[in-house]
């Protein structure tokens, strides 16, 4: 086996420690992203994840600038902002303009930290911003990979524990509240989980690309299955599959960065789901308009 470590063939892939670590962390992160992403799309909160991804960048660079572990800043920033958005959300009624204004400024702060880090710290290097933005899953060492995997497992467990009431609250908040489900608390807790997942995913695909890992497999699952538990399963499976495919592709073709490969497979899976379901939908009931979903067409006649 030792003679084969230099081999770049598929059979020798797992001889490289960095590939073992990447697969270990990647699988865990993909599972968490798939599960959390399913609820994110169900609750139409994808823009919140977009905001959190920018917060992740600023958090990581703020930590690096002050000389502490980037992951501490990452998790602190995303979980805090996740909770904050959850607490402010219901009153402001998901105001995208407010979220947008805040995260534009947070990103500006991130740029400041990037400059401070690259110019003032002797250990700083110019590519650290790129690493945070686009991830470096092949650069994880054993302890980081294990920590990421364990944390991802905990996140999955948390989603499964609150899964049933969260599903109820997401599908029909009014009825759920009437039945005594703590809808508001669940919403805030869920955004905290989204924050933690965003911080996790930043380690794999980077702050800018985590949105794809959250949105694409979940979007595909919502297309392919209407039953929630099957949808969650599909979302998780697709996320893990695209991560494995992306890592393998990047290993075989080293010029392609792993985060691009993962995102390319995720986008492809969503595109396939989109075309397949569009074709079957038009084949089964051709021109019929579903009144519940096409509000754009309905509103002129109803007013």
């Amino acid at each position: 086996m030792t003679a084969e470590t230099a081999d770049t063939g598929l059979t020798a892939m797992f001889d490289h420690p960095f590939m073992q670590h990447a697969f270990l962390a990647g699988t865990g992160i993909a599972m968490a992203a798939g599960l959390v992403g399913y609820f994110l799309v169900l609750r139409a909160q994808v823009f919140t994840a977009d905001a959190l991804s920018h917060v992740a960048f600023t958090g990581a660079l703020a930590a690096l600038t002050t000389g502490i572990d980037a992951r501490i800043g990452l998790f602190a920033a995303t979980i805090t902002v996740g909770f904050a958005l959850g607490v402010l959300g219901p009153r402001g009624h998901a105001d995208d303009v407010v979220i947008g204004s805040v995260f534009a400024w947070v990103l500006g702060l991130g740029v400041l930290f990037l400059t401070l880090y690259t110019t003032h710290r002797s250990t700083g290097n110019g590519t650290v911003g790129v690493t945070v933005l686009f991830g470096s899953i092949f650069g994880l060492d054993a302890s980081h990979a294990w920590e990421a995997a364990v944390l991802a497992a905990l996140l999955c467990l948390a989603v499964i524990v609150i899964g049933r009431p969260l599903l109820f609250a997401s599908l029909d908040a009014a009825v759920a509240a009437g039945r005594g489900v703590p809808v508001r608390l669940l919403g805030v807790g869920f955004l905290g989980l989204v924050g933690a997942t965003a911080a996790e995913a930043t380690q794999a695909v980077g702050a800018l690309l985590l949105l794809g890992l959250l949105a694409a497999p979940a979007g595909a699952a919502h297309r392919l299955a209407t039953r929630p538990y099957r949808g969650m399963g599909i979302s998780t499976a697709v996320a893990v599959a695209v991560t494995w495919a992306g890592l393998t592709t990047s290993y075989l073709a080293p010029r392609i960065p792993p985060s691009f490969a993962i995102l390319a497979f995720a986008t492809a899976s969503y595109a396939v789901a989109l075309t397949v379901t569009t074709r079957t939908a038009t084949a089964i009931h051709p021109p019929v308009q579903s009144p519940a979903t096409s509000t754009a067409q309905r509103s002129p006649t109803s007013s």
Partner: protein, 306 residues
């Protein structure tokens, strides 16, 4: 004068002298020209974007410029062409997808689509950057902007595109306003709402491509959304708030350029911070005004004595 300016590039707090010294450099003059053009265009288009609540789409269009610019640099073309090509392509894509989704497409699926398009665009940009070796330092300039090295030709291109965008907006402004405020009534009145929304996405794409060249793709959003959000908090009258939007955009851009010239920190930080402070001030002012108004209008005996 240039010699004198080059000998002393510090801040002397003599305003006239400082401004004259700053403008002694051709690159600063070009930066101000380009910044002014960009701020006006972003203000006008952004005002409609905030009104139409299309912030997520606007952000995605802005981000689409990154792979365009990175790809153009990789292929040896000018980044300007890449910005415009990709931003416009993304605008067409977003305009096309909701109809392609068919009857099954809900609101949730639509946001998943926009998010996927955005993440994939960024991933492509990263791939191009990787393929073009030795370019990693330039990534930060593409993402976070740079006001250095703006040529006369770029200013000319930016101005030409800006004039085109503003002319189209002036032409379609009234029906677009109508369609944005009440699409149902506008449709009934015979306004082509669907065509207008596609046209607006294309305008938004062109604007995003323009602004990207100064602020970088990630901070386009600042000039698009914050001045418009600030103005729409302060007043509900369309003409006045549009004028205020452009004014705020110009103020923060000029202030950002000036401060960035005298400090070692990036321009993106200053522009975002100035805009966000204005936004917070506007919210505070409106809040205070409401509070005063309420106390003035309800002469409560208990409160009057207090």
């Amino acid at each position: 004068m240039i010699v004198a300016a080059a000998a002393d590039a510090g801040l002397s707090w003599n305003l006239v002298r400082d401004v004259r010294q700053m403008f002694a450099y051709p690159f600063m003059v070009n930066a101000f020209r380009a910044g002014t053009v960009v701020a006006v265009t972003a203000g006008a288009t952004g005002w409609f974007m905030v009104l139409r609540r299309q912030t997520f789409a606007g952000h995605t269009l802005a981000v689409a410029g990154f792979p365009g610019a990175a790809g153009a640099v990789w292929l040896g073309l000018g980044a300007t062409y890449g910005y415009f090509a990709f931003c416009l392509a993304a605008a067409f894509l977003i305009a096309a997808i909701p109809t392609a989704g068919g009857a099954a497409a809900g609101r949730a699926a639509e946001s998943a689509t926009v998010g996927t398009v955005q993440a994939f665009a960024l991933a492509c940009g990263f791939l191009f950057v990787n393929l073009y070796k030795g370019f990693l330092g330039g990534v930060n300039a593409l993402l976070f902007g740079s006001f250095l090295g703006i040529t006369d030709g770029m200013v000319l291109t930016l101005t030409a595109v800006a004039v085109a965008i503003l002319a189209v907006l002036a032409l379609f402004g009234r029906p677009l306003l109508f369609a944005s405020l009440d699409p149902a009534v506008a449709t009934a009145a015979g306004v082509p709402v669907r065509a207008l929304s596609v046209a607006f996405l294309i305008l938004l794409g062109s604007t995003a491509a323009e602004v990207s060249q100064i602020t970088g793709t990630l901070l386009v959003f600042t000039l698009l959304v914050i001045p418009a959000a600030t103005a729409q908090i302060l007043t509900t009258r369309p003409a006045l708030s549009l004028a205020l939007t452009v004014l705020f955009g110009l103020l923060v851009t000029w202030a950002g350029l000036t401060v960035a010239y005298y400090s070692p920190y990036p321009i993106g930080f200053f522009i975002t911070s100035f805009s966000f402070s204005l936004y917070l001030l506007a919210r505070l002012a409106v809040h205070a005004h409401d509070l005063l108004d309420r106390t003035a209008r309800t002469p409560h005996p208990a409160r009057a004595s207090a």
